[in-house]
């Protein structure tokens, strides 16, 4: 009756299951959204900026917001698997365990991108900043989110096995994700400031390299992280 499922079928089964679960409960997205909006509002009140200053802080404010909101989502997404023993259910499947990493990473990425797509128009309204509606800016958002989620999914699988998981994930994640966040802020900041492509191509290239490294590193080490 059983034939081992293909790697990709297992990846999409996990991602699909996560999306279906979240569609029902709306626990994760709503927490990430409310948190993001609060951060954007707090920044808005704290930094009473003139239009020129806004241009320089936009990328920093947005990436700070997405990084914190992303951590909330990553923690919750893996805790759901751990709390009811479902992680064991996944580990018992006759499939390469890196499929679990990619399945979880895809669903985490979808949640983060959804939040970003809602937060960006909010930000544009509050800060009267329309230069973020550029295809290049969305490209950087996607690349930055991929890198952040890749390393975040791996570290959340590690931290969820500890008692201090809520505290441990940001402590582990932020130092490791600094290169991705810095490159994302530099590249998206350059786009918002209207700089020529040559001026932000270096952080963009770095971002791509970090994405590849984080995805490959997480793929290779996930099996060891989840094993008892």
């Amino acid at each position: 009756m059983t034939s081992s499922p293909s790697f990709f079928k297992a990846v999409f089964a996990i991602a699909r299951k996560d999306l279906a679960t979240e569609f029902r409960s709306r626990e994760l997205i709503s927490a990430m959204l409310v948190f993001s909006m609060l951060v954007i509002l707090i920044f808005n009140f704290a930094l009473e900026l003139n239009p020129d200053a806004r241009r320089t802080v936009t990328a920093g404010v947005l990436w700070t917001t997405f990084a914190f909101a992303g951590t909330l989502g990553l923690n919750r997404s893996m805790a759901v698997e751990k709390d009811r023993g479902c992680m064991d259910g996944l580990l018992l499947a006759p499939v390469d365990r890196s499929a679990i990493f990619f399945g979880k990473a895809i669903s985490n990425l979808v949640f983060m991108l959804l939040v970003e797509m809602i937060v960006i128009p909010m930000y544009a309204m509050l800060y009267n900043e329309t230069r973020i509606f550029q295809l290049e800016f969305f490209g950087v958002l996607l690349l930055g989110s991929i890198g952040y989620i890749a390393v975040g999914t791996l570290l959340s699988a590690m931290s969820v096995q500890t008692r201090t998981r809520d505290v441990l994930l940001p402590i582990l994640l932020f130092p490791v994700a600094v290169p991705v966040l810095l490159a994302s802020v530099k590249a998206s900041g350059g786009i918002v400031a209207g700089l020529p492509f040559e001026d932000y191509v270096t952080p963009l290239n770095l971002l791509i390299v970090y994405d590849v490294i984080f995805l490959a590193g997480s793929y290779m080490s996930f099996d060891f992280v989840v094993e008892e």
């Binding site: 299951k17 023993g85 259910g89 006759p94 008892e228």
Partner: protein, 232 residues
């Protein structure tokens, strides 16, 4: 079907399993008995490839662990203390998810068959969060046998079940055994174990201290056999 030689499992400085030897023939129903902390769950987790042995060799369905763990997992069904189910999915969606993970073709037919077997067909479209503990445990067994495994590992399957739910679980376990599947079940419920199993192994202080069939204690009962094993 299961062959374990000189199995040692350490967590830090603490040794849980101390050179355990164990073997099970195809079609046997083994009740693994023992006091709390004896290492039963640790042992089952190693057989399920969820934990690596520190020393010793483990073979399940002819494949060595941990080297061939994916092949072992394809032939294994596991029920643990926790249901391993997603509360925000329906019973059917939970089984569908696991059927996809096990690469089952034409899984809709199999899901209906399994739901009927565990008595949850009328509740197939209800969210698991609305299920009682007994119903969740029955669905958990459905999840474990969805791919019709050759070997079934049940870790305390009766924990938290009422009388009706326990009787229904008896029927499910009997039907799994009747299909010639190999079953290893840990339990503190000696009466149930005596009723269902064909062999009884007692695990204490990290080793198997006694092993016997019903014929070995036909003049007494399993409780006496168990007590005597623990005294040795």
């Amino acid at each position: 079907m299961i062959e374990v030689k000189k199995l040692v499992k350490r967590f830090g400085l603490k040794t849980i399993l101390k050179g355990l030897d164990f073997s099970v023939q195809p079609g046997e129903f083994v009740a693994l008995l023992g006091p709390n902390g004896a290492g039963k769950t640790t042992f089952l987790r190693i057989l399920a490839s969820l934990s690596r042995p520190s020393l010793g060799s483990v073979k399940v369905a002819g494949y060595p662990l941990p080297n061939e763990s994916a092949k072992v997992r394809a032939r294994l069904g596991v029920v643990s203390h926790l249901p391993l189910l997603y509360p925000d999915l329906t019973a059917e969606e939970n089984l569908e998810f696991y059927a996809r993970m096990y690469g089952i073709s034409n899984y809709h037919v199999r899901i209906t068959e399994v739901l009927k077997m565990v008595g949850l067909e009328p509740r197939r479209r209800d969210l698991v969060r609305t299920f009682s503990r007994g119903m969740q445990q029955r669905l958990s067994i459905g999840r474990a046998i969805i791919h019709d495994p050759e070997v079934a590992l049940f870790d305390e399957p009766y924990t938290g079940l009422d009388q009706d739910a326990s009787e229904m679980l008896d029927d499910v376990l009997r039907s799994v055994a009747a299909k010639g599947r190999t079953v290893v079940m840990t339990s503190h419920d000696l009466a149930r174990a005596e009723d269902l199993a064909t062999r009884f192994d007692v695990l204490s202080r990290g080793v198997i201290v006694a092993s016997g069939t019903k014929d070995d204690f036909k003049n007494s009962n399993l409780l006496d056999f168990y007590r005597k094993a623990l005294e040795t």
